[in-house]
């Protein structure tokens, strides 16, 4: 095994539960902006999602493949 040090500062071998989240980056958009963005994604989905989702899901039946 090579002895070269890994250069990635985020690398951790510790228990993942110990990993504290890093502070949010300074350039993060304002909360309101994020909320508006999420709303517009959801509106877009509402606009095209099959209207009878229960029937749509029930009707999506495939034969097995490879």
């Amino acid at each position: 095994m090579a002895t070269q040090e890994h250069k990635n500062p985020q690398r951790r071998d510790a228990d993942p539960a110990d990993d504290a989240p890093d502070p949010a980056p300074a350039a993060a958009p304002a909360k309101q902006e994020l909320d508006d963005d999420v709303d517009s994604v959801l509106d877009e989905i509402d606009g095209v999602l099959e209207s009878n989702s229960e029937e749509f899901v029930r009707g999506f039946v495939q034969k097995g493949g490879q």
């Binding site: 095994m1 070269q4 989905i45 495939q62 034969k63 490879q66």
Partner: protein, 509 residues
């Protein structure tokens, strides 16, 4: 070795008629293939498939399965004339595989090209849907996914050309742990846990619950992490084609790049005998399921000599091994494709380790989960709600206006690596640096004289010859534009081409 090698992606698409779940999927799939073939001026049976070198029961462990004990779905080399089949001018194969239309991409040499020709396949399917959307009929919808959530799964297979000299046991030993963890960055996300979605919830990968054994020949039942099908479609004593059946159909370019790129690099390291101690995972099939079922990525697996590792930590171990191997072999001289894959690999693992949601522009399952969580939060939905399952299915609808991923992509919400113009070009044109160039160009130039083709042959029916003329192409890196471009340019007819090929010395391999 670098990330560059001969590779390709085969995708079986989900197929349905709105409002008619009993429609016959074989007939429908045939209509998809025929509709597209007709539109581009080809007949789905005209340029048929040459089955001579197909051997779906040949096992990489060194034996053949008896035909009598094989499941009928394994007998993929028995030609059924009712099944449509066409080789396209981009070198791809479009056909009916069991009950799904399948697009098998032409051979490419880099992950970026794999993305371009994979997305070209989506464009082909989108065009077929458009052609079949006849007013007054329900039409046919196609989905780039891998399960109906009711117990059926269909594949997205990767193929990697490898050196035959590498012992198969070494591939198995070092690839299984990598495959257990790979879904953490390459899964496409799925609503429902268990093959029939018997438990509500979200998991990382479409395919993982459908895998039952570590190594085996089957692809339609008792699916194995490592598939042993040994059909090299090339010089058999020099090459092996590793047929990877575990992966999901990807939508995000970055995810697809990582799937092909990191796997190719790990294979390079195995071929070079450079892995060292194996990162053997305890109970790998069970570990695959457990990792897939935990979107927090905190679940750990037991790794021999390393203790308990999360999926991300196991992937970091492979990243470090590959990074050191590349450093030893090439110092600072990494080609662009290799450097890009390594940079993306490091970035994505860093994000997934800090907070998986940070990878929402790059990783398929994260993009899907983030969207579903927002939807759930707004409407207070439980994971068993039909709307969430509907979003999961419609996510992969190939249509630009109905496919939810396509809507997010068009709105610039996910990162795109390969420009649309390159994809458009890849729909009609073959890669220039593999034998797919010869295959695709022959189909474009002489569609009437090509009687059949396969990955390693083109068969001509020309007026001057009493019998069919088979041109073998057993070297995947020959038949390139640099190699046969001038010759194809000079040939005024298929007859001419055959004469020029005969004069030259084994132009295609």
């Amino acid at each position: 070795m670098s990330v560059r090698r001969i590779m390709g992606i085969e995708t079986e698409y989900g197929i349905s008629v709105p409002g008619d779940p009993t429609a016959n999927p074989m007939v429908l799939s045939g209509r998809v293939v025929t509709a597209y073939a007709t539109q581009v001026g080809m007949r789905a049976a005209r340029a048929g498939w040459d089955y001579e070198d197909e051997a779906p029961l040949r096992d990489a462990r060194g034996f053949d399965m008896a035909r009598g004990v094989a499941d009928p779905s394994q007998l993929t080399d028995e030609e059924d004339p009712t099944l449509a089949n066409v080789v396209l001018t981009n070198g791809a194969r479009l056909y009916v595989d069991h009950a799904h239309p399948e697009y098998s991409s032409p051979e490419v040499t880099s992950p970026r090209d794999a993305i371009a020709w994979d997305r070209a396949g989506e464009a082909v399917m989108r065009e077929a849907v458009r052609l079949l959307a006849v007013p007054g009929t329900p039409g046919v919808n196609l989905y780039k996914n891998n399960t109906d959530g009711k117990g059926a799964s269909y594949g997205t297979h990767e193929n990697y050309l490898m050196s035959r000299a590498t012992p198969f046991a070494e591939i198995v030993r070092h690839l299984i742990p990598f495959f257990v963890a790979r879904q953490v960055m390459c899964g496409s996300g799925r609503v429902g846990i268990g093959v029939e979605s018997s438990r509500p919830g979200f998991q990382l990968a479409q395919r993982s619950d459908f895998f039952e054994v570590e190594v085996g020949l089957e692809t339609t039942l008792k699916r194995p992490l490592i598939n042993t099908r040994d059909e090299p479609h090339a010089v058999a004593d020099r090459y092996r084609r590793l047929h990877v059946i575990l992966g999901d159909a990807n939508h995000c370019d970055v995810t697809n790049l990582l799937k092909l790129g990191t796997t190719s690099l790990v294979l390079g390291m195995i071929e070079d005998g450079a892995v060292g101690e194996a990162l053997t995972v305890d109970k790998p099939v069970e570990a695959l399921h457990r990792l897939s079922h935990d979107p927090t990525l905190r679940t750990t697996v037991e790794v021999a000599g390393r203790g308990t590792l999360t999926g991300v930590q196991l992937l970091w171990s492979y990243y470090e091994l590959v990074d050191r191997w590349l450093e030893r072999k090439y110092a600072g001289e990494r080609d662009e494709d290799t450097a890009e894959v390594m940079q993306r690999w490091e970035q994505v693992l860093t994000k997934l380790e800090r907070d998986p949601m940070e990878a929402y522009r790059e990783v398929d399952w994260v993009t899907k989960l983030k969207t579903l969580e927002s939807y759930r939060a707004r409407d207070g939905l439980d994971w068993s709600d039909h709307r969430l399952r509907a979003i999961d299915i419609q996510w992969s609808d190939v249509r630009s206006d109905k496919g939810l991923f396509n809507r997010l992509l068009a709105a610039g919400r996910v990162e795109q690596l390969v420009d649309d113009t390159l994809v458009k070009d890849a729909v009609g044109n073959p890669p220039r640096d593999t034998r797919a160039y010869f295959r695709g160009t022959c189909l474009a130039r002489f569609p009437r004289e090509v009687a059949a083709a396969s990955w390693d042959s083109v068969i001509f029916d020309v007026p001057s010859q009493p019998s069919l003329q088979r041109v073998p192409m057993l070297e995947p890196e020959r038949g390139t534009e640099a190699h046969v471009g001038p010759l194809l340019e000079r040939a005024e007819s298929a007859d001419d081409l055959l004469r020029l090929l005969a004069e030259g010395t084994s132009a295609t391999g």
